[in-house]
Symmetry: C2
Subunit: 257 residues, 2 copies
């Protein structure tokens, strides 16, 4: 039974892509078959896995405008067992192009039905907004939403709005859309702010907060420039180790549900 | 003659809001009258200046749906000489609500014509996307676009797409939309990556790159949680000093043009 998770947070630069890409890598290392879907027109997840964004023949955009099936867009990556549905900058126009399509919120969910039994996990990366592309991810999820949260005040401020949106989608479009986990990213143990944010989140969302905290580690931001996940680029770095531990916690929480 | 600048970068979390808010503060400290316009539905610039986002009577959204003039939305802030046009989460629906409005790209430009002679500078903060709200900022600018750029690989990757969009808007919608400056933010001198990104930008955009580099400094990320600019929160911090020096360089570059 394939488990579909969506990574979302409208606040920019909080580690959505870094988390989706590296969790996908460690899940495939653990022997699971994984599909990573990039719904962000920036196509950062696509380039982080070494795929040439400007030369991609078919992307999620072609699926959205009904030109092709999602199966035709799937590309293999350097990691065994990790495939990818690439994004394209054209996706930026989807929200307006589909404004009058009554079923526009179900496009990704329906598309994934064609490939669902080929993978153990499908991970969906979202853009920094609560628009149509992100909502498609919230409607497609079958196991819930993972929220990467930078340990900063402005990122915390957006959490209540994200919670409202998740609740709205659960009530109106997808009963399986719930806040499945919050992962603290770019944590700097030297700052009081980081500790305050974590304490704040633990108070309001104790069930959802993962124990694993991802520290700030420059290796994580270097890896995309080599088109590699942290597993391949710097497997002994503190960033890699944190994502490996996170993967174990993720599996412990969801594997048997 | 009012000078309108727009702060844009579709990459999330690169310091757009932090730069717009703190430049506005130091310009008002230098005796200029400044209007800060928040076009991001996250309303981070609004809350960074201490305004209560959920209780704002009239916001930019009311202007966009033609319910009121921008003058009616203007609020004073704690800084003398710094006013604000607040945002609201409702703004997230604007792209779809205005999809068929032929003049949708000119809404902000036209609205600002009513207040243009009341301020020396108008600074526009954008959301992390290249959608309608950001394009409105690119069409409204009269002195160009300031691009805050985090010294990271994924932020650099988005620069060519941003350049293409700025060029497109200049050719089709606003001849005054050009790349007026690139400001390196969250620079960590200990990492090779930061140095590589700066060298890369200096090679391709030598004219636009500001000499001032904003270092990573936790005081900058603490200030918004107090609803204060860095000038009021921690004026002697390295972050505050960097924005003060940046303001001087900004004035030197644009004051006499
Ligand atoms: N733990 C970390 N330590 C250091 N750098 C990190 C870490 N996690 C992510 N980064 C870097 O921070 C930046 C933002 O991360 P990322 O792009 O994953 O966030 P995002 O939420 O996907 O951004 P966007 O909102 O633009 O989609 C990137 O340059 C990334 O390489
Ligand atoms: N020089 C800096 N040093 C440390 N932290 C910073 C610095 N500049 C910004 N920050 C913090 O980094 C985070 C991202 O900055 P900011 O919100 O200004 O970026 P943005 O580009 O406006 O984000 P978005 O794309 O979500 O609109 C915020 O939490 C901010 O407080
Ligand atoms: Mg991303
Ligand atoms: Mg911002």
């Amino acid at each position: 039974m394939t488990k579909i998770f969506t990574f979302a947070n409208q606040k920019g630069g909080v580690g959505k892509t870094t988390t989706a890409v590296n969790l996908a890598a460690y899940l495939s290392k653990a022997g699971y078959s994984v599909l990573l879907v990039d719904t962000d027109p920036q196509a950062n997840a696509t380039s982080s896995l070494g795929l040439p964004v400007r030369e991609i023949p078919l992307s999620l955009y072609d699926v959205v405008i009904d030109r092709t099936s999602i199966g035709d867009t799937i590309m293999m990556t350097e990691e065994v067992g990790l495939d990818m549905v690439p994004s394209s900058p054209d996706l930026a126009g989807a929200e307006v192009e589909l404004a009058h399509e009554p079923e526009r919120h179900y496009i990704l969910r329906r598309a994934l039905e064609n490939v669902i039994n080929r993978y153990d996990f499908i991970l969906v990366d979202s853009p920094p907004s609560l628009g149509l592309l992100t909502v498609n991810g919230l409607v497609a999820t079958t196991y819930g939403v993972i929220v990467p949260l930078q340990a900063e005040y402005l990122a915390l401020e957006g959490l209540s709005r994200l919670w409202e949106t998740i609740t709205l989608v659960r009530e109106q479009l997808n009963p399986k859309c719930f806040l499945a986990g919050i992962l603290i990213t770019m944590y700097d143990s030297r700052t009081k702010l980081s500790r305050q944010v974590v304490n704040n989140v633990r108070e309001y969302f104790p069930q959802q907060l993962f124990d694993t905290i991802i520290p700030r580690n420059v290796r994580l931001s270097e890896a995309p420039s080599h088109g590699q996940t942290i597993l391949r680029y710097a497997p002994y770095s503190t960033g890699a180790q944190a994502y490996e531990v996170f993967t174990q916690e993720f599996l412990a929480r969801f594997q048997n549900r």
